[in-house]
Symmetry: C2
Subunit: 418 residues, 2 copies
């Protein structure tokens, strides 16, 4: 995580410069470890559809009255910063004048009062800081609602968003929108929330665990002196957990305990070998320590997720949050855990934009406020007329305009009231 | 754990000397980290009931024929050693000639072939070692069966065995034997097994986790350089987990997330503060590290146990294994986890002889083998005639002769075929 925000910011910088005049709808998710940012840009450089399709329309007649709208093609951009380096995030917003692209209240003079949708605990914690430094009023959006809205949007609107990962094979899953609900959403941020999702805005946080991404990174930092989350992940890639984990075979003298389905290579006790080996931390390779830690946490999350899916008869478990990061071993461990415990009945699915569910949900919440002066809508490709200007994500069902670009941008269209 | 075996052995030494001529029925549970030992002694010094009650009877007429039995009063003794220092265990057995007090096969010349009941993976792993060093043939008893038999015995036969612990208050629970089943047995050894127990020998291992006692001790040793499990526990007693754990209040700026029932002091991410604090391992107090680790693991075990109890509608969860050790904070954390997640519907119960379930089960298995030359029976106090010489633990229902002494010995009677 250390430096990630800056790194991502740099990657985006060139593109941002091209787009900055057309930026709109900044939204933030300020978590315990990371700040996630989503914004929309509609510059000609970024928007490929506008000219080709002549898609800019005005004066759409809507169910809520005759209102004037512009439909803009463009991209959703995703950035992250470390929460502990929040000043970098603030500087970035300031230097790019992103604060102007939130939601300006009707009665406020332009440039005076900037309302930006924000979720996560930091929306409360850093409320004063954003006001003081940027003149931004953070409009707090409920964290769980945001996660669910973000997940529903991605699952319905974005191609190649959800995929399974097992035995080294990544398979994209096309979601049948009519058969999406119910599902279990497991958001692995610093901590873990498990949410049963029954519909667009129907959900319940049914469980969670404090053993999450913050544990991997926090404990991993103490154990390995790694400087970043990704460095720790990379280390784990080269490690061998059997050096420190106590396997069933270590206890049973090389054999398994077949009567109860435990093979000799099943981990009996994470870090259990450190009990009897006469070694100190420094005597272990940091790679092996990182690997054991990752395995322990991934497996634990997979198991608790499965047990909660079982409670409610949920067959699909979507994993979000910034813990996984497309890391093969993490996904494999979670998949195996869910497969093993459920006897293959439940399935672990991962999301390409896993870390941005909350920020996307906050972004989506702009459009739900029919009373504000900006409404926008992701358009359905197969429908020539938008169904409503105040779109909720279920209107995105057949959109194929939203697509993922290599850098994680999503191409899409938003409808903006003039 | 380091040195514990020796320590316990020393404690017992004086008593053992008095009893050694009357020792019988050695049984072992050889786990990944610890070897647990149970044996029975019937010396006059140990047996308080023999003379008082004139309880030695011979020639009990049994359902299996006219067999000659002696009923001996005495004590069950409990010792533990570290598995990594198995030579200490072997020396102890050898010096006390305990190997003679297993079960001698009918056809073997005395002193030549000693059969000792043993369970745990080490019964397989160290089979050759015991044969070579002590001439002992380890008669392997299934690990899960042993745990269940041991737990059922304790719950039915021993006063002041099971108790709840919450908010600093320890309450002994008198088990209604007719209402004992079903229950969830959670054995926290190096790893954790979760067993649904439906009757005397009816059970199923329904779950488990690799995050157990071996994780606490292994990871704790790496993090704190502690020399023993108990030293680590003691450290944790003086620590403050809030120094390293990221609380909901840390994310939300001092407030909780009341909408979903998370107070400001709820742990959002175990070890999560280490992510952003610019500290290395050495900058933290070992007490605080130990505390966070204990809290993380205890809470996780409590949560997974609850989720499994919920699956099967089990209201009582008994925690065994050598992880808990009567440690108040551990019990409190587990109790709170079970209480919190179950909305008070499920209850965590702890066992005075928590660590010896497997060894006791192996011990009990002597009596189940009607074909061997030794059968023994824990007598029912309120029944003047034993129901069967091959007692299974359900015959212990109203026994109050089995009672716990301060050093963990259990006073009881065994019936031995001459």
């Amino acid at each position: 995580m250390a430096g990630d925000g800056v790194e991502v910011a740099k990657l985006e910088e060139k593109e941002l410069k091209l787009c900055e005049d057309q930026v709109s709808h900044l939204a933030l998710d300020i978590g315990g470890s990371l700040i996630k940012m989503v914004y929309f840009s509609s510059s000609s450089s970024c928007s490929t559809d506008d000219q080709e399709n002549g898609f800019i329309r005005e004066g759409t007649n809507t169910s809520s009255g005759n209102l004037e709208y512009r439909v803009l093609s463009g991209r959703l951009h995703f950035l992250k910063f470390e929460t502990s380096k929040i000043s970098e995030c603030i500087e970035f917003i300031s230097s790019k004048r992103l604060q102007h692209y939130g939601d300006q209240g009707d009665e406020a003079p332009a440039g005076d009062k900037h309302i930006v949708k924000a979720t996560g605990g930091g929306a409360f914690k850093f409320s004063d800081l954003f006001k003081e430094k940027l003149g931004i009023i953070l409009d707090k959006v409920d964290e769980m609602s945001s996660l669910v809205a973000g997940a529903n949007f991605l699952l319905k609107a974005v191609h190649h968003e959800a995929f399974t990962y097992m035995d080294g094979v990544k398979d994209y899953v096309q979601i049948d929108h009519k058969d999406l609900y119910p599902y279990l959403l497991v958001n692995v941020g610093s901590g873990v929330s498990m949410i049963k999702v029954d519909g667009d805005n129907e959900f319940e946080r049914v469980s969670g665990t404090s053993v999450g991404g913050g544990t991997f990174w926090g404990l991993g930092k103490l154990l390995t002196k790694c400087k970043s989350f990704d460095e720790l992940l990379e280390l784990s890639h080269q490690g061998n957990n059997r050096v420190i984990d106590m396997l069933v075979g270590d206890i049973y003298g090389g054999t398994g305990y077949s009567k109860i389905g435990l093979t000799s290579t099943t981990i009996a006790s994470s870090f259990g070998k450190a009990v009897s080996q006469n070694k100190e931390l420094e005597d272990y390779r940091t790679e092996d320590v990182a690997r054991s830690l990752l395995r322990m946490i991934s497996n634990n999350i997979g198991q608790i997720a499965y047990l909660n899916a079982l409670r409610f008869g949920l067959k699909r478990i979507f994993f979000g949050g910034f813990f996984i990061r497309g890391h093969e071993y993490t996904m494999d461990t979670i998949s195996v855990a869910v497969h093993f415990w459920s006897n293959g009945e439940a399935k672990a699915l991962f999301l390409h934009h896993e870390g941005f569910l909350g920020a996307l949900g906050a972004f989506m919440s702009y459009e739900k406020q029919g009373c504000t002066d900006i409404a926008h809508q992701f358009m359905e490709e197969h429908s020539s007329v938008a169904k409503s200007p105040f779109c909720t994500s279920d209107r995105l069902e057949s959109s194929t305009h939203t697509d993922v670009k290599d850098n994680g941008c999503i191409e899409c269209r938003v409808q903006v009231r003039n």
